[in-house]
């Protein structure tokens, strides 16, 4: 394991891969810092440009972008009180008040340091868990896969921000939009409405560009008058001594483990990690009342967890081909576009490739720390880039990316259609993460269901003979029934309280 990792690190430190990691991290930090731009947007836009690249280098670049984008959000969260990425929302609660009282450098130093530690702790889990989990996943049959994908969809839908019903609706809509076209198992065309362009279905890249990029462009245009005055950074250095970190070790470790663990859960993004870590840090704190007023512990918890989430979320992606977050769904799409078959056999067939991704993740975290510590003052100026100039240029990239896929304008229209759908869903507060994950996983879900049913004469009921699949189904059912159970428990509690009181 360690020799594999050492070999991969050796590869990453050769000039070209290192350049891609550096570039990816820097670009990720930039889009993360600019409110209105996201990591998902950057990676989706980059995907078509990587068609001419070596597959390993392309994915290395995108993983570095992922790490950078999650970290970059802390700058605008602290200085503007506008989280550059959704995962930095919790950082605004304490980072901005600290910056307001003249401690911007300290708030940034804490955030950047916590991001590094969180990222590296998750990296340890990524290195240690990936291979054994991958080996375990190779024992899965179609029913285990079907149940796991179903569980991933239910989990992301229920834990994603907003209402559970809307999360489930988003997932179901994602699956529905993945169904049109030729069904490869029996060669039947379905749901094409007689359009030959739809024979191959909606391609993943235009859908991603529409949902993540075009809908964001429309939303940014709607909010074009949104302005914020950043807090200026003083002359102090953005680096804390080890002694200053001493009292945060427990919080750092706990929040990083929470971030990693939530990341491993299929489909749950970095925002949830930072919320859970923040709430846990507050309940463990001796001064919980200070949270939200510019408290160091809040910043450390939020930033350690959201960066740890990236590493955690890479684990199910690498070992089972299940995206741990919406950005992982884009990475899954990138693997497919680069003709790399995701799933448990990825480690068996492409071990060097997987280790290169893990090494890139670790190096990107260290580069993120160096870049942000050295240049946060300049990045802070860039975050107020004129969106009137940026948004139209981003749309041009969308057009080029979508057209380049099959050299047809139909895919560009798909970008516009899904941009409109994505914007409509945003307006109705329907989360986009489950939509994208549903779209990506729909084919696997159907294929595994079909394979499972073909295995036995008992049809669907043969799933009852598979304990792992049943466990996954049980978790899904419990997640779906949880609101009812909660209501029942609450009523019982109230009834008991009524009986006790005279």
């Amino acid at each position: 394991m360690l020799s594999d990792l050492a070999g991969a690190l050796g590869y990453i430190f050769t000039p070209l891969p290192f350049f891609w990691v550096l570039l990816g991290t820097a670009l990720g930090i930039f889009v993360g810092a600019v409110p209105g731009l996201t990591g998902g947007m950057l990676i989706a836009l980059t995907m078509p440009l990587t068609f001419v690249m070596d597959s390993t280098q392309a994915l290395v670049l995108m993983v570095a972008m992922y790490v950078g984008s999650v970290s970059g959000g802390l700058i605008s969260a602290t200085l503007l009180r506008m989280p550059g990425t959704p995962s930095s929302v919790m950082t605004t609660f304490d980072g901005h008040p600290m910056a307001q009282r003249g401690e911007a450098e300290k708030a940034l130093a804490l955030s950047i340091g916590a991001s590094l530690i969180g990222g590296l702790i998750a990296g340890v889990f990524l290195v240690v868990l990936s291979q054994p989990l991958s080996r375990w996943a190779t024992t899965f049959g179609p029913w285990e896969y079907f149940a796991m994908v179903l569980m991933a969809l239910v989990l992301i839908a229920s834990i994603s921000q907003g209402s559970m019903v809307k999360g489930l609706l988003a997932g179901a809509l994602g699956i529905a939009f993945a169904l049109p076209g030729l069904n490869p198992s029996d060669g039947q065309l379905r749901l094409t409405l007689g359009w030959h362009e739809l024979d191959g279905g909606f391609a993943l890249l235009p859908v991603l560009l529409g949902v993540f990029v075009m809908s964001q462009i429309i939303e940014d245009a709607l909010e074009i008058e949104k302005k914020a005055e950043p807090i200026r950074i003083g002359g102090q250095r953005i680096l804390l001594s080890l002694a200053a970190w001493k009292r945060h070790w427990g919080n750092l470790l706990r929040s990083s483990i929470i971030g990693t663990w939530i990341g491993i859960l299929p489909g749950v993004g970095a925002s949830i990690s930072s919320m859970v870590a923040y709430a846990t840090a507050r309940s463990f704190s001796r001064t919980p009342e200070k949270f939200g007023t510019g408290h160091e512990e809040g910043i450390v918890a939020s930033e350690a967890a959201n960066n740890a989430n990236v590493g955690g979320a890479l684990i199910p992606l690498i070992t089972m081909g299940i995206p741990g977050s919406p950005i992982d769904a884009i990475l899954l799409g990138a693997l497919i576009l680069h003709n790399i078959q995701p799933g448990p056999l990825l480690f068996v067939n492409n071990a060097e490739f997987v280790w290169a991704l893990i090494a890139a993740y670790l190096v990107a975290n260290i580069l993120m720390f160096i870049i942000m510590t050295a240049s946060v003052r300049w990045i802070a100026r860039l975050m107020l880039v004129n969106r009137a100039l940026l948004l139209p240029a981003i749309f041009v990239f969308c057009v080029v990316g979508a057209y380049a896929l099959h050299n047809r304008m139909f895919d560009v229209w798909v970008v516009l259609l899904f941009g409109l759908i994505g914007f409509g869903l945003r307006l109705c507060r329907v989360p986009l993460g489950p939509f994208v994950i549903g779209f990506v996983l729909a084919r696997i879900l159907e294929e595994e269901l079909r394979s499972g049913m073909q295995l036995s004469d008992a049809g669907f009921w043969s799933i009852l003979d598979r304990p792992i699949a049943l466990t996954f189904l049980g978790i899904s059912a419990l997640t779906l029934l949880w609101p009812f159970v909660q209501d029942m428990l609450a009523r019982r509690r109230r009834r008991r309280a009524g009986e006790v009181s005279p």
Binding site: L169, L173, A176, Q188, A221, P392, L416
Partner: protein, 174 residues
């Protein structure tokens, strides 16, 4: 009286389980669109011939998803009925939303793709025109923003075409 209390109790339970919508009007629209979409899926799936050897067939999953969509749309509509209209004032967001600009930018994007689809303009010229018009709109037609936008449109239009075709070897719409 008792019935009213029971109704309030039932409403309370539904609220606790399903939650109340904070955007009831939008949610009614959403539920309607989803129901319509589910109906289209169901009708299209009904046209698929039955399977011969495959136990599942090509229509089962679309039909199943259509049912799930109908159920979820019904719950979304129920939450909208239960929900109170959002009380937050317009000033709460701290800036003026510009739906006119959002619609404008979308229409410009449609026009940009449309002129290339119809072959009226090639990528280079269409891109220059789109970038100049879109940056002027987003910059609310301020003179400085328009000049900057035009300069960037020329650089990105000409330079971008060279970059995509000469460096990344990507075919562009003609």
């Amino acid at each position: 009286m008792a019935a009213a209390a029971e109704g309030a109790g039932l409403r309370g339970r539904l609220l606790r389980i399903a939650g109340a919508s904070r955007t009831p009007l939008a949610d009614f629209g959403l539920a309607g669109c989803v129901l319509l979409f589910a109906a289209v899926i169901w009708m299209e799936a009904a046209k698929v011939p039955p399977p011969f050897f495959d136990p599942l067939g090509s229509a089962a999953v679309p039909e199943g998803i259509a049912i799930v969509l109908v159920v979820l749309a019904a719950i979304v509509a129920l939450r909208a009925v239960l929900g109170m209209p959002e009380r937050a004032g317009k000033g709460a967001i701290g800036f003026r939303a510009r739906p006119d600009i959002a619609i404008g930018i979308f229409l410009l994007a449609v026009a940009y793709v449309g002129v290339m689809q119809l072959g009226l303009l090639g990528f280079e010229l269409a891109t220059i025109a789109f970038l100049a018009a879109a940056s002027a709109l987003l910059g609310r037609f301020e003179r400085r923003a328009m000049l900057f936008g035009l300069a960037i449109a020329l650089v990105l239009g000409v330079g971008g075409t060279w970059l995509f075709t000469g460096f990344f070897y990507i075919d562009l719409p003609r």
